[in-house]
Symmetry: D3
């Protein structure tokens, strides 16, 4: 089952991907019907990064980072590496040397349901990583896994070429085939929110803007 590298992966349109980055994780998650979010354990190694890119997926054995070298060859400019270990692991699969290599190929960042190390160097490089742990624990290069096969990363299915968006709120995956439609929905949502933000900032209440008082009363809410 493992031991496969899928080549010639289709990517979403570059303009759509960049639009998705601007929308951000929380908005996209809502815009696509509250799906695709990775678990809350996935945290950025530094604050402020917001990226989007096409997933190069990696299924790797616990404590073995060999497939990262294989995956880097599959990177096209604008891609994001997505690593899911085949069983829970916190080891530091990735550090500044791999980041240097990935960046040279045009990689925008890493999403890894495991550990990362050299985080000071990665921060100085501005190479963003979302991970489950920061841990210097070393890995081996003994067992093959797969690249660009479907994986479950932090509870979300990710296929090669899906769009990954990551920011301070976490990580969301948008299906490649749905990317344009999700972007459109997100842009409508952002436009709608702007008007509401102004009204809220002016002191109007959500209770009134969203006309909630009647339904709350029906559900039995009592003021005492």
């Amino acid at each position: 089952m493992s031991g496969v590298v899928v080549q010639n992966v289709a990517r979403a349109d570059a303009g759509v991907i960049d639009g998705l980055a601007r929308a951000g994780v929380a908005t996209l998650h809502e815009a696509q019907g509250r799906k695709g979010l990775l678990a809350a354990c996935m945290r950025p190694i530094y604050a402020g990064a917001r990226i989007a890119g096409s997933a190069v997926t990696i299924s790797a054995p616990p404590g073995d980072n060999w497939m990262l070298h294989v995956a880097i060859e599959q990177i096209e400019a604008g891609d994001i590496l997505v690593l899911a270990p085949t069983s829970p692991c916190e080891d530091g699969y990735f550090g500044d040397l791999l980041a240097t290599s990935a960046r040279a190929r045009g990689c925008r960042g890493l999403v890894i349901e495991a550990g990362v190390r050299d985080v000071r160097d990665l921060t100085e490089m501005g190479f963003p990583v979302w991970s489950k742990a920061v841990f210097a624990q070393g890995t081996v290069k003994e067992t093959v896994g797969s690249v660009n096969v479907p994986v479950v990363c932090a509870g979300a299915c990710v296929e090669a070429g899906d769009v990954i968006v990551a920011d301070d709120d976490g990580v969301v995956v948008v299906r490649r085939a749905e990317a344009a439609e999700v972007l459109a929905a997100a842009e409508r949502r952002i436009a709608g929110e702007e008007a509401k933000r102004e009204r809220l900032a002016a002191g109007e209440l959500g209770l009134d803007i969203y006309d909630m008082r009647g339904r709350l009363a029906e559900k039995g809410l009592k003021y005492v």
Copy 2:
């Protein structure tokens, strides 16, 4: 039991509340006899904020943020929202729109034993949040909860109108009726610590300042 909004909540004196903010969480926790601390899982979304305010409490179902809209109407200037879900939940109940609305009412921040999202926006706004998780997961508006009833938030009982103090060390609740007395105790404690800080900085040992050597020997401590 749920479905109640308590209005006309008494608050502590504004000057006392501001004094409690200056004292900070660790000092207040000691000054009031080591009680009232929320669990260590409650972390700020950004470093450096230190706030105090009167609690507007929210008991909310898991994954349902409807009561936040109801609670915002109950905010008076200087209040802090305190949300406890009725069962463990990490969903992102609160983001930048709600923060805009809460701030317009004079809210100083949010303490939530669940998740928060739009943390980059909240950080830019300077709207501080202490939460159990950062998670973009959306919520629904289907089930009523209660506002300004007693809640257990992260292991601490909080009643509406209690004083909440939060900083980089976490969150502590001070009973409204005890606020002035706790502030006085905290100020005595701070005064006492200043002298000790100087002696310690000068190289004197706690062993001598606090006269511990005899009691340590009695308890059997041996130097080898």
Copy 3:
């Protein structure tokens, strides 16, 4: 077994210790054969610190920080305090007063498999701490423990006088007797990495630099 303070602990050479600080945690962990790492739960209270020093070890009861006062007397300039509770505990054993005292003795930082408080003050002082939790919970001074005995801290054995190195990647312990040899291995490793970093930055692949293609094929990796 407890109730012992070991004095006259041997330290590693100061120059070696400073060299180890420059190498950093991830490199040293590799250089000494992937051992000595503390668990990933040990996180710095602020980013950017990188220290090395000789361990003054503390075995303390849960919720009792008395031995910290005893340990501070044993500090020599350049030391690092290492506290392991005798059972799991998140209490805030250490705050700004103890940091003031420790710093006055020349202490470079604290590694504690428990909680720490006053983290804003500690950050302003530039006194680095690696801990399992930030928690304002107070402690008592009732039960003796031991100082400078062997402890297991976050899963790693630490003996008094061992070298502790800590940075944004976590904490590693280097045996005192092996410190010079580990430093030499680390420096060789760093030198070797520099050349590789340049080749990787230029776009060469790890697959080629490390000559992995043949072995991957042998293990059955297929490109499809």
Copy 4:
């Protein structure tokens, strides 16, 4: 705040308490409006026990079981000990000697948000315990706490004399003043469930028994 033993605690009616035991945790939790449940981490040391009794509450320092001896003197026949540590702790506060003593006073069991030990002996004695951990770690007797003061145990407020009910589903607290009313509601609920159980066992669907189809269609559920 600590250092207090409250005597002369009022208990609920013994017949009501026994009725509550028969109803069980899940039914009572529903019958009283979904409140009062302790967190899911509280597990029985052996399967099959179902008890109810009046709470003798204990607030104890981490790793210090002195107050258990104090609390046992306060037990009346039919009581249940409820221990909440003042900060998170897994130590084994309680074993077969304390169980022997508690049983001699008529104690029906222990609910402890910490650890327990001698679980084989406790199982053989038939002395049930609900705890967060099984851990042989010893405790000291150095610091006083309080007995029969309000505590927060595993996220639920418990006052002395409240009724505790515990079974394989976990632990629920029923306010003393509400005990009779909750029992009545539980008995109505049980009666209503019996008829439904028979219809469900006969193959009728909840969709029809509870008349859900229309409301599901309104909410947009589609069959494809």
Copy 5:
């Protein structure tokens, strides 16, 4: 995206399903190339059950068990319910009434990445459940989810009609299309293990049976 019930789901051959039950989780996981395992947090409510059946999948909001009623109508004899909440939740979605209803439809058990209650009754009924938690916390019926759509349950992708096998080791999913082939591989594996078990029981070493000594020496293993 949610609000869909897929009907007319294809199932695997009944004889194959029963064969998979006999093989058990650990063997099937190996036989299908070490994939399909649900996370280790999924534990049985009682020891000794071993079941296999076709998955009826449920995607449900946190704290809302409405879709279980919908799903039960979709059960065919021999099926297993598989519930994945849309965000992490420990609430008790399922108890003895739902089990009575599910059993009346021929359901063999429940796999739920959330909580279950009435576990004593379920144990007496012999209705097996694998869950993340035992928790009496009630749920609401307010928000629709979906039935028989693909879900990620405890880290594994499950589609309606896939074969679920569960025993004391946990839960594994076998793709419907691969079920016969996996059963054949499992049976070969079991046959091969029997001979090895006898040799091992007679005192032969795995080192010799699997001819490992040479390869261990090559990898540098030293006996001292």
Copy 6:
């Protein structure tokens, strides 16, 4: 550092080992000064086993069980296998085939800070295991570790030949050189407890038996 198998390990006296088994974990932990306990996450796969034996230690890479085969050759009758992974791992390193092999060499059980599988078979065989997880996840045989070197297992240092005692309370390690002395201390403790158990069973209070009332009053305990 890894890649070493230490042979010719000294064991404690067999009669002492059997005496330690009779004393049990909680008593031994106290008798040796509250040290040597493994973390509370180490739980037995079935209730009721109580064993003692000499440790054959294994340091293994995450997800790689090769060293178990190597270790089994080093077993002498009465030994217990103790496996510590070099980084956190839940994989199922051990199942019924390895148990068959280990038992044929006289092994009394396994202590593993990782996962175990085939637990139904192991229970039927009466082969006891204390582990951090039950998980069917398979492992590879690619990387060497070490046998009979010192390890840290679940937070406790274990050296080859140390005595391991395990029962329903968990696992404790007794240094080989201290085994006879610890047994003597445990037997004194057991004798002392017997008299106390009788007095407690007769209704005498620990407060009186241990003469605690005066010291409690001194510490400020108040009865109200």
